[in-house]
Symmetry: C2
Subunit: 418 residues, 2 copies
């Protein structure tokens, strides 16, 4: 049967703590979406047999595909295989070819396979074993009662190639001919309620269209995202509707849209720099190098990112960037004149075409009545345009202020280069 | 009744996409743990009435406390209030004081309250309304059949103060006198299997102790975490057992442990720099400013972080850091001599006490047979010690290589200053 709906259950008490997120589910969500399978629910369950059994039974009852990640290790804590075989009434038998493979992995590292690892060779009746080239735990693909259950190991570098090579194909073969089409619009520079006001009349009309388009508005740090989804059997018709809806939304929002193809702000700015053959350099204070780091997260960014100088201390703003000491004393380190002098200083020192100066109060300390925490001054220089400088007030903690400042700086470059 | 077990249900189709993580559950996991309440399951459910109703009924059936986040907005998609009141059989009535508050919020911004917002004033019978100073959606606290259900809005800046001010107290009052005590050990510089080998005999003994201590080993990017948890009614006894177990583990792992109190690597290094009154500056190439940015994520870091120079291009390594052009040509930009010259160059230019030079191949392009992707050279200079330099080979994609390089650089500073 073609799986239309899916659930993901991540197994492991450690994933319930405050220090870890379940990154596998993000990857799987994207892959399922590409396969036209709706993800309905995702959950994280600790290493408790009863909880996992209940969650799995309910998931199997209501969805066509259940993917369980983690809990396939050799120890008593690793319950996933047992729970699934119990719930589906599939007895398990050991598979000696798996034992041989696991033993080989240990031997190649000069070690002896501990006996506990034999647990990993238990296979429920009828399950297809999914080879794991990057770890000891094999995965399992179970086609049962017209539904599919997939068990994958927890480490992303094991899970991802296994899903790609061994699961995506069989799921694709079974997939329905109705596909989900998605598009997104990323916006920065205006608040959520203003975006909502502008777009609500448009998306409510498309929601009632045939086929309907559902829209989600997402306010993330420093940006608003509109996600549009449509399901259709006819690809040409589906894509055309989606594009019309997207174009209406774009017309309503205008140049606050920075991306319509899922590219991040750093990719958008990087592509603009690359297409104009401009080089880039930043002079950062309160953002501490985050702007340069974000821009260099993009593969290939070494072709346009020249350099960055983080001048946290006053004397380094003078020594490294040539900001006049008298200017810092008279105007303050967080001032429009200093931000411009930083952008000019890095331009002189690197010869980069596009430069930025950022100075501000990231907090939690250092705020004053006139320049409270969140005050950030951004100067941007691009060829053949007047120097841009503006004082922003950002809300939130230190990390949020840093991020929003880098977002605003990149958005300004984008607007000046577009 | 004292809630011992909890579940978190995050509501919203957007949280099922590949671009967003449910950060609220990380915050709530930490707060519940501090209150001695076990988090058993957390889930994300889309805006589908039936799915949410099923998940809520099961969660309410098996756990003492259910926290639902999101889905409290004014639109038809916002189902949480309706589903909970239906499932518990509590009829809803409008609360005019809420309407007045919401209307006030709109009026202060010169706007008229849309009629749809009246939905947010619906209150199930017996529920305590939780005031939301940062948004329109009030929360709800429901004490029903000896269990507790809490509804909170999705945006973290609304949810967190509401939980802190309005939920933590009442939960604390109801909490059992048996508390969970936790400690963690953060390790870097050795692989997961080596850590496991060293600590397994110790933690398996404590697992069988009375009261037992459970240990979770977590391999995150560039670090291994051991999390120890013990539950006891007697705080002194509980803490003493936990400390003995922790000390045994510390003895077995030695100086690969960088933190035993939850501090991040950047905090640990920052505290070492501050306590020695040393200043810091970095010369970065492949990490693109991430090292300086991570160190400046720590509040108060401006007292020791002097400056950073990101020299991506060859000519900037020479112009900004004084790396001899001939050295780059003869040894290559990714070489131990260049890394040392970068660390020396930034030290000369800033006068900082502790300096780092990082150069490498972050990928995906740029690798060669001799210097494949993941090759990173790190040089560290601290007062009164010989210059340190080493060539590392990191695995993973661009972001992972960048992160691991900054982690290794900070760990080296830690070891050299300890």
């Amino acid at each position: 049967m073609a799986p239309r709906t899916a659930e993901i259950i991540a197994v492991g008490s450690e994933l319930l703590g405050s220090t870890r997120t379940d990154t596998n589910s993000l990857y799987l969500a994207e892959r399922l979406s590409a396969l036209g399978i709706d993800l309905r629910i995702k959950s994280v369950v600790g290493d408790e047999r009863e909880d996992l059994a209940t969650m799995f039974r309910h998931a199997f009852g209501r969805s066509d595909l259940v993917i369980l990640t983690g809990g396939l290790g050799p120890t008593d804590d690793d319950l996933t295989r047992d729970v699934v075989s119990d719930a589906l009434g599939l007895p398990m038998t050991p598979d000696e070819t798996i034992v041989t493979k696991i033993r080989g992995r240990f031997e190649r590292r000069g070690m002896t396979m501990p006996e506990v690892n034999r647990r990993q060779a238990q296979v429920p009746r009828g399950a297809v074993v999914l080879d794991n080239p990057n770890g000891t735990a094999p995965g399992l693909f179970i086609d049962h009662d017209g539904k599919i259950v997939i068990l994958l190991p927890g480490p992303p570098r094991e899970l991802q190639p296994m899903f790609e090579l061994l699961c995506a194909g069989p799921l694709q073969d079974r997939a329905s001919d109705e596909r989900a089409y998605r598009t997104s619009i990323f916006i920065t520079g205006r608040g959520e309620s203003h975006v909502e006001q502008a777009v609500q009349p448009i998306y409510s009309r498309w929601r009632d269209a045939n086929p309907p388009i559902s829209t989600t508005i997402l306010a993330a740090m420093g940006q608003i995202e509109l996600h549009l989804v449509l399901r259709d059997r006819d690809e040409a018709r589906g894509r055309a509707s989606l594009e019309r809806a997207r174009n209406e939304l774009l017309a309503a929002i205008g140049d606050d849209v920075y991306s319509t193809d899922g590219r991040t702000m750093e990719q958008v700015v990087g592509d603009l720099l690359a297409s104009r053959r401009y080089t880039f350099a930043a002079a950062e204070s309160c953002t501490g190098g985050l702007l340069t780091s974000r821009l260099t997260d993009v593969p290939g960014s070494s072709s346009y990112v020249r350099a960055g100088i983080v001048a946290y201390a006053y004397e380094d703003k003078t020594a490294l960037l040539g900001v006049p000491k008298a200017m810092i004393e008279s105007d303050g380190a967080v001032s429009e004149s200093v931000a411009v002098a930083m952008a000019e200083g890095i331009r002189e020192r690197t010869g980069a075409d596009v430069t930025v100066g950022i100075t501000g109060v990231a907090g939690p300390g250092g705020g004053t009545d006139k320049k409270p925490v969140g005050t950030v001054v951004i100067a941007v220089i691009v060829p053949e345009k007047p120097v841009y400088v503006r004082t922003y007030s950002f809300i939130g903690g230190r990390a949020m202020v840093k991020f929003q400042a880098t977002q605003a700086a990149m958005d300004r470059i984008r607007r000046m280069l577009t």
